[in-house]
Amino acid sequence: MADALLTVSNLETYYGPIMAIRGVSFSVPAGAIVTILGANGAGKTTILKTICGVMDPLKGTVTFERREIQGLDPDAVTRLGISHVPEGREVFPFLSAAENLRMGAYTRRDAAGVARDLEMVYDYFPVLRSRADQRAGQLSGGEQQMLTIARALMARPTMMLLDEPSLGLAPRLVKEIFEIIVRINRDRGVTILLVEQNANMALHVADYGYVLEIGRIVMEDTCARLLDKEDIKEFYLGMKSSSVRGTRRWKRKKTWR
């Protein structure tokens, strides 16, 4: 894709001798929401960590705004405009919610803009306004999740990497968070790369999807078409297609294998 904001090509990332990412390529067009689906241990988190610079790939390139960024330190990547919302609510537990948000804007120098954006994220997440002075460690899991998304937004990113924002949240809250993600994308033009276990939600909000299995991309398509595929329905959405009877299940193989 010529106008892609982020392009990853032939990425290989290792944990010591373990090859977690086995030659992955994909791209994210500016302004889009792209999702990567995959089971536990497929390597989704590792891909995001490699993009944002916490891990260095052994091979391959990550190109952001036509610049190769693989191997940069994470703080340098953040300064280029990529904000990472890590898996598992990584807040600063002993700082207040408001201080957590200010830390999100650490790389910025425009105090007035930061103050405006603080109001903006409070509008997206009204509950954070009422918790502003509370220690982040004392917020509920859902509130912490909102805090990490809001904190990433405070950097005024061009692109956000979201790692399982719905993990461990009640269905209603999941819906709410996804709606906010869509609003952030529409209103502010933030490009989003979304990693999810909740395939149903992810496929409904995203434009384009990739399916990752054991470190490889095995399928890609627009989300509308992915939603229609039998394999996706069965393995990621947990629906049994009507044609498949229990007795024949064992015969069905994932078609991409």
Partner: protein, 287 residues
């Protein structure tokens, strides 16, 4: 009695300041710097050198010595300790103990192994208030500690960099994601810890004389840090003051020799009752 209280407070402040250095570095990097006491010794010697060798005024020498030792601390972090992060704790502890020994031999080569007195504006002066003689040296230690702690508190609470340092200590990975230059923050924490140790050394100098073994006081400061709940800053100060008071009072009222072990006895008792220390929390930090 009041005199004793004051002296105990002052000695305790010194322990507290050195303990504060232990805690700051530990909270940020999970590394225990056993050379903390020797950094204090370097601070005292550097100040002595500026005053006696180069004839600088006390206050100028004070500032120069603190800045020198602080820069030295930052350099130590980026040149040596950053490389051993992630190595087994034991190796790092041995390394810092080794650094302490190197500092002592460096001091004996440069300044000699004699005992020196640092002339200060507070030396051998006293005020009588309500029949009690209060020596200025002790007052200067207490006042210095209070001012320093207030300044550090303000820095860590109200400045952008100070809050970012807290953030980097609490969750290193998330700090990276925010674009906080974590490595530079850690060097800064080393600089602050070393600077605080130097201030402790300079404040202590008029009371205790300067020699290369001044740094062994660091061991008692370590006990103070543990007593306060390793990882708690108010705890470090409270632990220091507690140990200082216990020491002076047991020295005055209990048989000879008790003074030197009293602090450790109290430490053992407190740890047996409250293993997390006086101010410790159970909450663990994520890395």
């Amino acid at each position: 009695m009041l005199q004793l209280l004051l002296n105990g407070l002052a000695v305790g402040c010194i322990y507290g300041l050195v303990a504060l250095g232990f805690v700051l570095i530990y909270k940020a990097t999970e590394l225990v710097n056993f050379a903390q006491g020797d950094l204090m010794m370097l601070g005292a010697f550097t100040c002595y050198m500026f005053v006696v060798w180069y004839g600088a005024g006390y206050w100028l020498a004070f500032v120069l010595a603190v800045v020198t030792v602080a820069l030295f601390g930052a350099a130590l972090d980026s040149a040596v300790l950053r490389r051993v992060l992630g190595q087994p704790q034991f190796a790092v502890v041995m390394l810092t103990i080794g650094l302490g020994a190197i500092f002592r031999s460096f001091a004996s080569i440069v300044w000699g192994s004699e005992i020196y007195t640092l002339p200060t504006p507070f030396s051998a002066r006293a005020t009588r208030i309500a029949g009690v003689t209060i020596s200025h040296e002790y007052i200067s230690i207490i006042a210095g500690t209070v001012i320093l702690c207030a300044a550090l508190y303000a820095f860590f609470t109200f400045t952008r960099v100070g809050v970012a340092m807290q953030a980097a200590s609490q969750n290193q990975l998330a700090a990276y994601y925010m674009g906080i230059p974590v490595k530079r923050m850690f060097s800064l924490i080393w600089a602050i810890s070393a600077g605080v140790a130097a201030i402790a050394g300079i404040l202590l100098a008029p009371v205790s004389l300067i020699d290369i073994n001044l740094g062994f006081l660091g061991l008692k400061a370590f006990a103070a840090a543990v007593l306060g709940g390793f990882g708690s800053i108010p705890g470090a100060l409270a632990g220091g003051v507690t140990i200082g008071l216990i020491e002076l009072f047991s020295g005055a009222y209990l048989p000879q020799g008790v003074k030197d072990v009293a602090a450790y006895v109290v430490l053992l008792v407190v740890l047996a009752i409250r293993p997390q220390g006086m101010f410790g929390t159970i909450a663990r930090k994520k890395v």
